[in-house]
Amino acid sequence: MLYIKCPYCGLRAQKEFSYGGDATVKRPNINEEVSSEDWDNFVYMRKSPRGKHIELWQHIAGCRQWIKVQRDTATHEIFQTAKVTEEIR
């Protein structure tokens, strides 16, 4: 079970979180024209990297905030966590 540092609540067990996918995907702006290729990429296309991956988790049984987690998909090592408004480099 992973141990995830919520930027609001501190270290909490994975049980309290739910996974939300790639955090680097940006939704096309609302009310703006978008090509169907860009739209399909947004909806369907995800990379599945082995190694570092910045992803979204929601602290569902805690503060209910969505957060960013930089995790190694092979080893589960977590390098950094951040609020969604912050950048992970």
Binding site: Y3, S18, I30, N31, T85
Partner: protein, 998 residues
């Protein structure tokens, strides 16, 4: 009754307390502190089971977790447990143990014929033998394997015991209380760290209990006791015996299995039997010690053959002799300690040492005590079927592959030592790639992957001095980093015997023309020849050899067999062991009970139960409940001998004719506030929301970004910047997360807050042509006329003195209202409604009637919104705005979503107007067509239309409305039914929606 193999004084058992038990029906006794194994050996019993494949007689081999053979079916404290390790299970009064895998008895086992039919059971015998003919599988092979395979019998009784889970956090977890573990825990505790020390066995101390050493002028045992006593007195230390740390998971979470009360004769009702600990440790010390490995020789599985350290443990801990004419067969010095212990108890051992004559502290001591030592010697084959009677021994030539001399000598036990294998299981589970240490012919941990540090024998250090030093140093340094306190501790003076070098010898050669079985893996009956066959057949990867031969795959995880197996493979392959590599270690290290894994999460505690504030009323009025997620909802209210069908028909009919009330508390409710709330709803829903006036509700449809319908419900504008959203019961949690996702991540610029208020409001729907009359009685001071409170209208008013919200919305398709009051007032509201509704013929209705009402109206719900349908599939395209953007809009243009023949919602009625159509039925053109019969759609929801008094179903069907008027078959192979149906509109009742507006 005497115990012929019990020593008079030696041992740590309590001789003042006798414990009686039975073994295979025979009454025996032992002492408090015995294991089943030590008590049986004390009684001279060695034959305890039959082997897995060949049904060969088997006895005890070890004295703890390493035991491969002695697995018993044990009945105690009122339950029966299979595969109990006799070397670990403590004796309790009244315990009854029986042998497994033998029929009719362990002494005479019919299956032993397999031993003489060896040619049928070579490596991979399952794959080879049971392949053909195919027709034999079901009737002959499968029952045979079932009977022959497996060990004990699982109980079919419900487990009445209590099991618990515990979550714990600590600075340092120490796994094992041998010298290095004690030292680590002590040093860390002195630094103020929060320490958990876990010991698998009932007694703390590990090898300190059996080794002839002294620390600071105390015996090993006394020193261990002193340290443990001090640790127990410290508030920052938790000391646990009978607790096996069996798994090392991500982010330094370890899982421990505690045997809380299996050893107790009496316990309180609330004492759990076993407990699972989830321990999140900042640092972990792996002081798991090492396990002696055997030397392979002929018939090395005969009862009476022991690991040498186990024989010593039986003497020193249990006061039991494993035999009175022992042969000690060794390639190293440690077995000399066993020999000396025998000698101390007036038993004359003979030592066979594979090494050439040389001297060391222990050898010299043995010599000086007059022990018969034969160098360059080894056991070739053990004689005796159910117990060792003698051994053919040989003097090895210099090449160690042939014999100078062979003779047979009498013995009643053979104690074998092939040197020591560090227990690296937890280190390996943590992700540590192991490295091969040639000095000890075994793997030890390499670079750390997590916060784990292996110390002592687990790290390949086999001297006490080194183990203590590493323990103190690592315990101190690791904890000091956490507590920022460092207490100086002087490392104690140690007195121990110096060991000479061991012999890299692990398998005894066979003389020409002799071919006894030489087992590598006892529990799975894997012999040297099985591994040779696998390699001859071309298996190379150690992982493949393992699976083909089943080497190391039994419950003992190859604790005594892995390295010998690797040696064998590397010898045949002409490789060195590190090139062959090792197989993966996986949790659990030792078998644990299913009960412990489940813990308290059984029955009522399996998941939380959500009850509405009116639950008690429903219960009192014969409601039959149905689970809706964690909620309990009334499915119907049973009157007399009514069936579900009859009751739901009555309830639905009453709504159509009079008025009914339904508990709708379980609907998801989300409070939405903020100046941008309207804009947010406008983006979330497919329809327009910018112009909804205050005091009005609107039906809304929500999509996922891929265009699939996610949820539907009504949202009401309570005030300028305040909305009340409802969701379906099932999607409530998902919708909230969905809204939070967009507010927090995608559109943080929107000033909106959302919060779940599902639990804050109790809800009741009043539906039926007489609902307005009833409402006017409930709110005598309120104008509830169609003009004052029209369809989709909203009002706040006092309900007999308590605040309430009235929504004129309808799921049943009738004139209907939903009243919300604060949860605390829910029961009050419901009872008032029942009282006031009497004169209008009001009856409560459950989810079954609710379904009937919505199905015949063609209102979609979960079965139609099944994650595959877009709005136009379910006739909701009228709610999709063409003018504005919203979540999922761009996906609706996808080609496949706009194909004319796409499956869409329709209604179905049976041609005979009588046969109910099973939900899930497939719609086909020709019921007799050749399989696979082309499927045109499926039946999503079915009901008995109370309006038209015949069955009616909703279906999702190819070509949708274009099919209206055509006839098909709804076939359900599951129910063996085929019903001829006609396609009609999905709106079977009141298609214009007049009633809701009336």
């Amino acid at each position: 009754m005497s115990q012929p193999f019990r020593l008079n004084k030696e041992g740590l058992i309590n001789r003042n307390k006798k414990i009686s038990f039975t073994f295979n029906g025979k009454k025996l006794f032992g002492y408090e502190g015995d294991t089943i194994a030590s008590a049986l050996i004390a009684n001279g019993i060695h034959l305890v089971g039959r082997s897995f494949k060949y049904h060969r007689p088997r006895g005890f081999f070890g004295a703890g977790v390493e035991e491969p053979n002695a697995k018993l079916q044990v009945e105690f404290n009122g339950h029966s447990e299979p595969n109990v390790n006799a070397t670990e299970m403590e004796l309790v009064e009244g315990l009854s143990a029986t042998s497994q895998n033998c029929w009719p008895s362990v002494n005479f086992d019919v299956g032993a014929i397999n031993n003489f039919l060896k040619m049928f059971f070579p490596a991979g015998f399952y794959y080879k033998t049971f392949m053909w003919p195919k027709s034999f599988w079901y009737k002959i092979y499968e029952p045979f394997i079932r009977k022959a395979a497996g060990l004990g019998v699982a109980s079919i009784e419900k487990d009445k015991e209590r099991y618990e889970h515990k979550f714990e956090y600590c600075d340092l977890l120490v796994t094992g209380s041998g010298p290095s573990g004690l030292a680590s825990a002590y040093a860390a505790a002195k630094n103020g760290a929060k320490v958990i020390l876990a010991e698998d066995k009932p007694r703390f101390g590990g090898t300190l209990l059996t080794d002839d050493v002294s620390i600071d002028n105390l015996s090993g045992k006394d020193w261990a006791e002193k340290i443990i006593t001090e640790l127990k007195s410290m508030p920052n230390v938790t000391v646990k015996n009978r607790s096996q740390v069996f798994g090392y998971y991500d982010h330094n979470m370890l899982v421990m299995f505690e045997r809380v009360s299996d050893h107790l004769e009496k316990k309180s009702k609330f004492t759990p039997r076993q407990r699972l600990w989830y321990i999140r440790a900042k640092e972990t010390i792996l002081s798991t010690g090492s396990i002696e490995r055997p030397i392979v020789f002929g018939n090395n599985d005969t009862p009476g053959i022991f690991l040498s350290a186990a024989a010593k443990e039986y003497m020193k801990v249990y006061g039991v002799l494993v035999g009175k004419k022992p042969l000690i067969f060794t390639n190293n010095d440690s077995a000399y300690e066993t020999a000396l212990e025998f000698k101390k108890n007036n038993v004359e051992p003979i030592i066979l040492d594979t090494r050439e004559e040389h001297s060391s502290e222990l050898i010299d001591e043995a010599k000086s005590k007059g022990i018969d030592i034969r160098f360059s010697h080894g056991v070739i084959v053990a004689n005796g079927y159910k117990k060792v009677k003698s051994a053919k021994i040989g003097k090895l030539n210099k090449d160690k592959n042939s014999f100078e001399k062979i003779e047979t000598i009498d013995c009643d036990c053979i104690c074998v030592s092939g040197f020591w294998t560090p227990s690296v299981h937890l280190a390996s589970q943590s992700g540590n790639k192991l490295k091969y240490e040639e000095k000890i012919d075994a793997f030890i941990p390499d670079k750390k992957k997590q916060h784990e540090t292996s110390v002592g024998a687990a790290n390949g250090s086999f001297t006490l001095e080194e183990s203590l030093k590493h323990g103190f140093e690592n315990g101190s340094n690791l904890s000091a980093k956490i507590t920022e306190t460092k207490t100086e501790i002087s490392i104690p003076n140690v007195n121990e015997k110096k060991y000479g070098a061991h012999d890299k010898f692990w398998c005894m050669p066979l003389p020409k023309n002799e071919n006894p079985k030489r087992f590598v893996d006892f529990q799975n009956d894997v012999s040297v020849s099985d591994i040779e066959i696998a390699l001859r057949e071309g298996y190379r990867s150690i992982e493949h050899v393992k699976r083909y031969t089943t080497l190391g795959m039994a419950t003992d995880q190859g604790r005594t067999s892995n390295l010998n197996g690797l040696q064998l493979v590397s010898n045949i392959e002409n490789k060195i062991v590190p090139e062959v590599g090792h197989t993966t270690f996986r949790p659990p290290f030792t078998p644990i009970t299913i009960g412990t894994i489940v813990g308290r999460e059984v029955g009522m505690e399996y998941m939380p139960t959500r009850k509405t504030p009116m639950h008690e009323w429903h219960e009192k009025n014969n409601a039959v409940f149905v689970d809706a997620g964690a909620w309990k909802r009334p499915r119907y209210y049973k009157q007399g001998n009514e069936t579900l069908f009859e009751a739901s028909k009555r309830e639905a009919k009453n709504v159509r004719e009079n008025v009914g009330i339904c508990d709708v508390t379980t609907l998801g409710k989300i409070d939405i506030k903020g100046p941008d709330a309207a804009e947010f709803l406008n983006r979330v829903y497919t329809n327009a929301w910018m112009k909804l006036p205050v005091g009005k509700a609107r039906y809304g449809l929500m999509l996922r970004e891929d265009g699939i319908v996610m949820d539907d419900g009504t949202t009401t504008r309570i005030s300028e910047n305040h909305y009340h959203m409802t969701t379906t019961t099932a999607q409530a949690a998902n919708v909230l997360s969905h809204l939070e996702y967009y507010l927090q991540i995608v559109w943080p610029e929107l000033n909106v807050n959302v919060v779940s208020t599902t639990e804050q409001w109790a809800g009741a729907a009043i539906a039926g042509p007489k609902s307005r009359d009833m409402l006017s009685k409930l709110y005598p001071d309120l104008d509830v006329s169609n003009d004052a409170l029209p369809f989709m209208g909203y009002k706040e008013a006092e309900f007999f003195g308590v605040p309430s919200r009235i929504f004129r919305i309808s799921f049943s398709g009738e004139l209907a209202y939903e009243i919300n009051v604060k949860s605390d007032h829910g029961m009050f509201m419901w009872e008032k409604m029942m009282e006031v509704g009497k004169e209008f013929g009001n009856q409560p209705y459950g989810t079954e009637a609710l379904s009937t009402l919505r199905i015949e109206m063609g209102h979609v719900a979960g079965p139609e919104l099944d994650g595959r349908t877009i709005p136009s599939d379910v006739s909701l395209n009228g709610l999709v705005s063409k003018k504005k953007d919203f979540i999922g809009k761009n996906s609706l243009g996808r080609e496949a979503f706009n194909v004319e023949s796409r499956q869409k919602i329709v209604g179905l009625i049976p041609i005979d107007r009588k046969s109910s159509i099973p939900e899930g039925s497939h719609i086909v053109q020709d019921q007799n067509a050749k399989l696979p019969n082309p499927k045109l759609g499926h039946v999503s929801s079915s009901c008995w239309s109370v309006e038209n008094n015949n069955p009616f179903s909703l279906a999702i069907m190819k070509d949708g409305k274009n099919m209206i008027g055509k006839k098909f078959f709804a076939v359900s192979p599951l129910k063996n039914k085929s019903i001829e149906v006609e396609v009609i509109s999905s709106h079977y009742v009141d298609p214009e929606g007049k009633r809701v507006r009336s």
